[in-house]
């Protein structure tokens, strides 16, 4: 169990250079950053802040079941708004760092005031919330019925949308997998071993390439898209 440890930095708080935050006016930025602080976290450390923005790294909302099973309900990357303030006294889960990360902790009351005062901040928040809602619905669909290979294809496309994760080196579509296998497993509801097997299966079918390390080359994007959209159901005993 990772202990809670927050290393405060005296650095001036700043917003990540990522939409929609880099479009805010100077006055809005100034107001929003009042009482804010940049925090740094090592991998696997819990973060007991309920409101803020991811500056670098990867965070997740983790929920632990009674017997120790862990589920990552939401992944956050650079620029994502994190809002875990309680609803009806119910905890939404705990925020953990999946990699070494920096996080901009916002002051809740300042934040509420800024939303009311600046329309650009309000719309930035709404944009983020609706985007995350859509992603969470996607994710629920993945979890409900997709096979491991389909879920993995789906999550690869999710990683491709992460800022800085995708690149187009030498004409190939390369993705840097930003988290550990075990984290992917906890995210898509399977075990790390099954993630490993699913990756190997995709590679054997020449749908992806594994040049080195944590890099994945999408060799056949149309097929992968079909897969991610539910193209490989459980095998029927009939056929």
């Amino acid at each position: 169990m990772p202990e809670v440890q927050q290393q405060d930095r005296q650095a001036q708080p700043y917003l990540p250079d990522h939409a929609p935050w880099n479009t805010l006016s100077t006055a809005s930025t100034h107001d929003l950053l009042t009482n804010a602080a940049i925090l740094s976290f090592d991998q696997d450390h819990c973060i007991d802040v309920d409101l803020g923005i991811v500056v670098t790294g990867a965070l997740a909302v983790e929920r632990e079941l009674a017997d120790g099973r862990r589920a990552l309900c939401t992944l956050f990357h650079e620029g994502n708004l994190v809002d875990l303030r309680r609803v009806d006294r119910v905890r939404q889960g705990s925020l953990v760092a999946l990699t070494t990360s920096r996080f901009l902790a916002l002051d809740e009351t300042v934040c509420e005031a800024s939303i009311g005062k600046h329309t650009d901040i309000a719309s930035a928040f709404i944009t983020q919330l609706r985007e995350q809602f859509a992603r969470l619905r996607d994710h629920a669909t993945d979890l409900a019925f997709k096979t491991p290979v389909e879920s993995l294809a789906s999550v690869l496309f999710e990683f491709r949308r992460w800022p800085g994760a995708a690149s187009d080196e030498q004409g190939a579509d390369t993705i840097q997998i930003p988290v550990r296998r075990g984290d992917i497993a906890n995210y898509i509801g399977i075990k790390a071993e099954t993630v490993s097997r699913a990756i190997r299966k995709l590679e054997q079918e020449r749908l992806i390439g594994l040049p080195y390390g944590d890099r994945v080359v999408l060799a056949d994007i149309p097929s992968m898209r079909r897969l991610a959209n539910g193209g490989r159901p459980r095998q029927s005993t009939r056929r």
Copy 2:
């Protein structure tokens, strides 16, 4: 495949008598209902409206995979705000009626204006969105790692929170299951047959009672809570 069919009613639009909508001021209610309409739907009919409030019945966001598998990502009951407006040109899924339902379709531009004008409407919307976010995270946790029996216990507690679904007849905690078995299955990511078996298992263990029809009596709430929280993991081959 259910055809799209909407039966318009000339009835005056009205808000459901349910929090937070019944706390709005008269002026707010009047503004919000401008250009709104009450629609009625039969079971399994699609609803091509992106914004509105459930008046009676049960709706769901359905996503269909390429091969016909269906997942219900979100259930909506009386009083729930439905906001399926697109994000980044991505469809969130389609809205379907799980039972005969009535739905208050809101005008999107009127709605935006009302939120900006009336703070009680804005806070009602925010309350609904955050509540649904929390529920969706719960649901993702269910889908990720819970066994069918655990997921079923979890969804029974979800139904208990539905207005009108729970009652306290003769001292027992009785729930009216508001949707079909197949819908429950599509919601918690298992098959209808497995739902049936899970219900039977719970009854055999005296955790629930099945007096008649679609009624379920929670006979042992503490045990059920434990179960819903992950109290019955997959069996280890070790023990």
